[in-house]
């Protein structure tokens, strides 16, 4: 119990961010019309590609002799970038289609 309390006190800044972000995340997309469900999902998909930053940090910290970290980190950078770039491009194409449909 003591342990848990110390842990919470130690990380309180992060815990505040998490709780506030949960509410903000729910509020911000609260009134999305159902036609935008798929593009929004795709956009959110691209945003969680931010995980690539973790992969970059791994790569940048790895010693040049540590092949496990280098190879897995490299793979992680490639996959994460795929997530980011592919996600944003796909979302853009979806919304492009959405716009041209509306004009007709």
């Amino acid at each position: 119990m003591d342990n848990i309390l110390t842990w919470i006190a130690f990380h309180q800044q992060i815990i505040y961010i998490v709780i506030l972000m949960i509410f903000v995340g729910i509020e911000v997309i609260g009134r999305v019309p159902s036609v935008l469900h798929t593009p929004l999902m795709s956009g959110a998909n691209a945003i969680h590609g931010v995980v690539v930053i973790g992969a970059i940090i791994i790569m940048g910290r790895a010693e040049t002799s540590n092949y496990l970290a280098l190879i897995l980190g490299f793979l992680a950078v490639v996959l994460g970038t795929l997530n980011v770039v592919g996600g944003f491009v796909v979302t853009d194409r979806m919304l492009e289609m959405f716009k041209s449909k509306k004009k007709k």
């Binding site: 003591d2 990380h11 995340g25 997309i29 999902m41 959110a44 945003i47 973790g54 997530n83």
Partner: protein, 337 residues
């Protein structure tokens, strides 16, 4: 380092604005671009400005990082541009799986890194910095918290990766709906196995800190600090259990999506999307990186709500989509098509 914090703050705000604009028809396209700009800023800011908090060193291995970024960008752009309009959802699923795999790989590397870290050094440095004497009582919240985030990232990331790949295959038509009798029992058993193995491993690791001074008293994680504590080297079985958790999580991801009907796939992809968001947030915890944390949690929360909204739009409940297909696979897929 200060500039990087500002960049991360700006990037977090662009993610928020991007999501907000994406949920209105007129601003949706611009919102996507705003979020993309913020992402670019965050990525390049990290590459050039990040400093290791322990050693104040800048990142190196630029050749590896940039070749990874370039390869990923080229493959991502080409596949995203080439794909047919009707195949968009499966593309989203594929990219989501890539993000999950990225989180999974980060956890694997960090586990090996954790296992080879000399904790004695870190702890004595922390003590000196705080001006504490040898008799000071030092608490050890960090390694356990770090390990838990590594495990959560590993489990959620690999479930999301495996599940997204199955969803991709299903929308593609390469994987058929399949469910066998008692599949939900197997699923629950897998989930229990994952949790039990994780906790047992956490316990093994927290017991493998060796106290190298007579004065040190280990009292329920409260360690009276004498000269130092040290992490005993992990045995091969520790690694075996770690990889067993990985394999079980992958299996769970596959079995979780396999029986769900093809028409319900968008809902499942949205759910897995929010999973990957949480996995990304674990990375934020691990590196104390605010932009990963905000981005991940934002997607986790928004994705969960979006999943529920999508279910509502289809006039079904989430429970129905996820559990309803078990046992009644024929009726569920029949009703959906």
């Amino acid at each position: 380092m200060e500039l990087l914090s500002v960049i991360y703050l700006i990037a977090s705000v662009t993610f928020l604005l991007g999501l907000r604009m994406l949920s209105h028809p007129e601003t949706a396209r611009k919102g996507n671009l705003v979020a993309a700009a913020g992402m670019g800023l965050a990525i390049f800011g990290t590459i050039f400005l990040y400093e290791d908090p322990n050693s104040d060193e800048r990142l190196h291995n630029y050749a590896w990082i940039f070749s990874g970024l370039i390869i990923g960008s080229i493959i991502g752009t080409v596949t995203a541009k080439r794909v047919k309009m009707t195949a968009m959802p499966e593309m989203v699923s594929l990219f989501n799986g890539m993000g999950g795999a990225c989180a999974m790989l980060i956890s694997i590397v960090e586990f090996h890194h954790f296992a080879s870290t000399d904790f004695t050094l870190q702890i004595s440095e922390a003590l000196e910095a705080n001006g504490m004497t040898e008799e000071a009582v030092f608490q050890l919240p960090m390694p356990t918290g770090m390990l838990i985030t590594i495990f959560v990232g590993l489990i959620i990331g690999s479930v999301s990766f495996a599940g997204s790949m199955v969803a991709f295959g299903k929308l593609n038509g390469t994987i058929k709906d399949r469910s066998f009798k008692g599949q939900h029992i197997v699923n629950i058993a897998l989930l229990v196995a994952i949790i039990v193995l994780t906790f047992s491993l956490l316990k093994v690791i927290s017991n493998s800190f060796e106290i190298s001074s007579d004065e040190v008293i280990n009292n329920a994680h409260r360690i009276r600090f004498g000269r130092g504590i040290k992490l005993i080297e992990f045995s091969a079985s520790t690694y075996a259990v770690f990889y067993a958790v990985l394999v079980f999580s992958l299996a769970y991801g596959i079995l979780f999506v396999l029986p769900i009907g093809g028409a319900d796939m968008p809902v499942v992809i949205s759910l897995l999307n929010s999973f990957t968001g949480v996995a990304a947030a674990c990375g934020g915890f691990l590196y104390d990186n605010k932009v990963m944390l905000t981005g991940g949690i934002l997607v986790g929360a928004a994705g969960t709500l979006l999943t529920i909204l999508m279910c509502k739009a289809m006039n079904r409940s989430l429970k129905n989509v996820l559990i309803g297909s078990f046992g009644g696979g024929a009726t569920a897929s029949g009703g959906a098509t």
